[in-house]
């Protein structure tokens, strides 16, 4: 078993294990911090898929931005609401969770079936790409290509997404403004 395989299984275990803890936990703070671990595990998986730039972006945006926002909202939404959440019997296996289990299990069965039937490693374009040497280089030079492509081939989506981000942030700031404070 090679080193990369061991690392892959380790990262997969960390990711899925912490995601399960998020699903099972009754404590909101604990589940938020386990989500943090899940995101780091996912960043490790991205590195193993030779996407180091995406991994760094994942850490910067998710851990630096989204997680801080979630913690912020959690602190602003009051203690008494959270106490009520903790009081409810939130056992992992209980009758009230049965529909959720059923739904998640069915989704898993369907999608695993699709993956195994599709033989993703033998798809024509995958084989062609491997044969043509079109896979990402391991020496870390792939990031140059990403920068060039982002500013040439994908310039339109890049600009559209920047406008969308600005609109969303202005909307969020407007929504979270306190009502009655000099409204028009």
């Amino acid at each position: 078993m090679s080193m990369i395989k061991i690392l892959f299984y380790l990262m997969a275990f960390i990711t899925l294990g912490s995601a399960l803890v998020v699903a099972a936990g009754k404590n909101l703070v604990r589940s938020i911090f386990m989500f943090f671990v899940t995101l780091f595990g996912l960043a490790g998986l991205y590195v193993l898929a030779l996407a180091d730039f995406v991994a760094v972006t994942q850490i910067v945006i998710y851990v630096g931005g989204i997680l801080v926002l979630i913690l912020f909202a959690f602190m602003l939404s009051g203690k008494e609401a959270l106490d009520k959440v903790e009081v409810q019997k939130n056992k992992f296996i209980s009758l009230s969770n049965a529909p959720a289990f059923f739904l998640a299990g069915l989704f898993a069965v369907i999608m695993l079936n699709v993956i195994f039937k599709a033989h993703v490693d033998q798809l024509p374009w995958v084989i062609e790409s491997v044969k043509a040497g079109n896979t990402m280089p391991i020496d870390g030079t792939g990031i140059n290509k990403i920068g060039v492509n982002l500013m040439t081939r994908y310039l339109l989506p890049f600009e559209v997404i920047s406008i969308l981000l600005m609109v969303a942030l202005v909307g969020a700031a407007h929504l979270s403004r306190r009502e009655g404070a000099n409204q028009v």
């Binding site: 990369i4 899925l16 995601a19 602003l76 609401a81 993956i115 993703v120 492509n149 969303a168 942030l169």
Partner: protein, 101 residues
């Protein structure tokens, strides 16, 4: 060597955990975390197949776009959650059952 199938299986499991969290949790913030898990499962697929596209980097670039989109979604969703808490004094999605003031 790690195959694409391994990545896809992990992605399926993450997606299903996300579905479970969304359906079973009684707290809007935890539901939001479930949505983020599902988004991350999709991004993992994009990245795993982006490995095979050196010329155009399609998968990785769109994974970056998806991460930015997730950030925008979260900002709006958290603003809505704060507003709902201010009005109803609870963030249990089951208890928020009227549209009027």
């Amino acid at each position: 060597m790690i195959t694409q199938q391994d990545f896809m299986i992990i992605s399926v499991m993450l997606f299903c955990i996300g579905v479970f969290i969304i359906v079973s949790k009684k707290n809007a913030i935890q539901v939001l975390i479930g949505i983020e898990l599902m988004l991350n499962a999709a991004i993992l697929n994009l990245v795993a197949f982006g490995k095979l596209d050196r010329a155009n980097n399609g998968g990785q670039v769109f994974a970056l776009f998806a991460i930015v989109l997730a950030a925008a979604t979260t900002a709006v969703a958290l603003a809505i959650i704060l507003n709902v808490y201010r009005r109803y004094k609870t963030i249990d999605p089951d208890k928020i059952n009227q549209l009027k003031d």
